[in-house]
């Protein structure tokens, strides 16, 4: 029973971590593939007050003056060569507009991009469901629209649409329809060539932000800080931009781990009970072994070995069970749209899940067997034998 409990506990521990971290990883991939690891936007200037409070402990951010957008993107990109973790950059001119089809109109956010640069810092190419990035690149007036935008205005690839900004309006050709799975993006975002965007918004210079991809995404916070210091522009790391969602995933992971740890804990209690019963039932045998010269440690080892065998066998079975269930649920159909797009359960295969499950089981099982083992070792053989003989 204890063995089965440990195996199930370890197995479900792994499955829980695999699927929670699977969804988390998928979400991270989605946000990195959409908005990049670091975004460089508004320039800031230190005010007199921030210059005065020169203490390293002072929060100078609240005393900065911000100037919207990136005025000289080429200079910034040149400066980024000093950050070795930077893998790619893409300038983006972003503004609001409305899109009209013969049937309907919708409010949108236009992202003016250089396609070849942008596919280097995002997964736009892979997110295109209809049409293609090549078609967009070959069409000077081409646009790529979000799936929900397309749905709303009933536009298809090859259709002609009008994008309007105040009195200015231009006609564009739909070259592709993309889907990130993030509703807030898919229902408003439209990509067009940077030159077209400059013309539409009458902004011949500067960009709204620079999207940066990194070789090591986990260093994004440190790199963002470095970039801020080098460029005097706000640089935000993906962990900070998506903090609220990442916290939700973290909470799920902790809650899930606690829940499945309970299975292992209950199995551990079962094992403790079993071993404690064995100690009670085997007091005579323990006393006899002690009378033959077996030490307290020898007696203790018998029960610790029993625990170790349950631990090793249970953990191995748990690993196999966890891997089998993880594999099984990865093909379970599950349609999710909203924060990312998937049609199946998402799992993450990581050796660390097995390590965490093994460590948790080891702690619980060893504690469960240690107490009965110590009790067995403390038995005084004379007391036991005299008690039985009388």
């Amino acid at each position: 029973m204890s063995l089965g409990g440990i195996a199930f506990g370890v197995g479900f521990f792994i499955v829980t971590l695999a699927q929670v971290s699977g969804f988390e990883e998928f979400f991270i991939q989605t946000i990195l593939g959409t908005d990049g690891a670091v975004r460089i936007e508004d320039r800031f200037q230190s005010t007199l007050a921030s210059v005065r409070s020169n203490s390293p402990f002072a929060d100078n951010r609240s005393q900065r003056k911000y100037i919207e957008g990136v005025e000289n993107p080429d200079e910034i990109i040149e400066a980024l060569t000093a950050v070795p973790n930077v893998a790619g950059t893409s300038v983006v001119l972003k503004d609001s507009a409305s899109i009209d089809s013969p049937l309907r109109s919708s409010r949108i956010q236009v992202y003016g991009i250089i396609a070849s640069d942008h596919i280097g810092v995002s997964q736009l190419e892979g997110q295109i469901r209809m049409g293609s990035i090549q078609r967009f690149q070959e069409t000077p007036t081409g646009i790529i629209i979000g799936a929900k935008v397309a749905d709303r205005i009933k536009a298809h690839v090859g259709d002609s649409v009008i994008i309007r900004v105040g009195d200015q309006q231009n006609r564009y050709r739909v070259s592709g329809i993309f889907e990130t799975g993030v509703s807030d993006i898919d229902k408003v975002r439209v990509f067009m060539h940077l030159g077209q965007a400059r013309s539409l918004f009458k902004k011949p210079h500067g960009v709204s932000f620079i999207q940066v991809s990194l070789f090591d995404r986990d260093r994004a916070r440190e790199d963002a800080e470095t970039i801020e210091n080098i460029t005097s522009h706000i640089a935000s790391a993906w962990q900070d931009r998506e903090k609220s969602w990442l916290e939700v995933f973290r909470a799920f992971k902790i809650t899930g781990s606690i829940m499945v740890s309970t299975i292992i804990l209950i199995s551990g209690l079962g094992m403790f009970n079993t071993l404690a019963m064995i100690v009670m039932e085997k007091t005579r045998e323990i006393a006899i072994l002690r009378s033959m010269g077996y030490t307290r440690q020898d007696i203790s080892n018998v029960f610790l070995w029993q625990g170790a065998v349950v631990l090793v066998v249970g953990t191995i079975l748990g690993f196999l069970l966890g891997a089998a269930i993880t594999y099984g649920i990865s093909s379970v159909p599950l349609r999710i749209r909203g924060i990312f797009s998937t049609d199946n359960f998402v799992v993450n295969w990581s050796i660390m899940h097995y390590v965490y499950a093994g460590v948790t089981a080891s702690i619980i099982v060893m504690l469960s067997s240690l107490l009965p083992a110590r009790r067995a070792a403390r038995l005084v053989p004379g007391d036991v034998i005299r008690g039985t003989s009388s």
């Binding site: 010269g293 005299r386 003989s389």
Partner: protein
């Protein structure tokens, strides 16, 4: 401390002024009141006395299975220190064999494996040597043919004979037996007792037997009578020693 004790190499077991209390507070009982005792090699000594006089308590103290409240115990020339369980355990393993009223064989192991257990702990012999010795001990107690049987497949007398073989496994200098025939019929009692005394004399072991049976006590070299926590009289039956 040890100057009060004998260094005579013929002495296998000795105690001086052994004191033991059981219970606590108002219910505390002074079970042993300064017992002095000496056992020579090859000598078989019986302790007799009424129930509750302290016979078994004395036996367990001498076997280092319990801790005395006063006095000294010396086994094969080595004094047993107070409060050193590791030393007591080692001394038991090397020098002391036990036979109890119940056989206390481990039910999951065969007769042969039960006899091997003390040897395995001592760790002097190889696996084959241990097996051979266990088999020869079982032959000696007349159970050579049944060495692979579990204790549950043996009769009460046979189980007790396996227990005797087990007690002799490490060739102890001292054999302590607490009512070894208390659970057997008369025929088996005499057979077991004779076996015990025979192997003790053959192996030059000091044997101390607690018994209620006066007929069996008469087969020993000496009879010590205990009353109220003290040895009150001694009867020598065999002057050879």
């Amino acid at each position: 401390m040890s100057e009060v004790l004998s260094h005579d190499p013929t002495v296998a077991l000795e105690c001086r002024g052994l004191e033991k209390y059981l219970g606590e507070g108002a219910s505390q009982v002074h079970v042993l009141r300064g017992v002095d005792l000496q056992l020579k090699r090859g000598e078989v000594v019986a302790i007799v006395g009424p129930s509750g006089c302290g016979k078994s308590t004395l036996l367990y103290l001498l076997g280092l299975l319990d801790r005395q409240d006063g006095g000294h115990i010396i086994v094969s020339g080595e004094e047993a220190p107070l409060d050193q369980d590791g030393v007591h355990t080692r001394m038991r393993c090397r020098n002391i064999g036990f036979v109890f009223q119940f056989h206390f064989l481990l039910p999951e192991f065969s007769a042969l494996e039960n006899v091997i257990l003390p040897m395995r702990k001592l760790g002097v012999l190889s696996a084959k040597e241990m097996k051979d010795r266990a088999q020869s001990l079982l032959d000696e107690v007349g159970l050579g043919e049944k060495s692979m049987r579990l204790p549950s497949q043996l009769s009460g007398g046979e189980q007790q004979r396996v227990a005797i073989a087990r007690s002799l496994a490490n060739k102890p200098h001292v054999l302590l037996a607490d009512e070894p025939t208390g659970n057997l019929d008369i025929k088996n009692s005499i057979r077991i007792f004779d076996l015990l005394t025979k192997v003790a004399r053959e192996n030059d072991q000091a044997t101390l037997v607690v018994t209620h049976n006066p007929d069996l006590a008469q087969r020993c070299d000496r009879i010590l009578k205990m009353e109220d926590g003290l040895i009150v009289s001694e009867e020598r039956l065999n002057d050879a020693r």
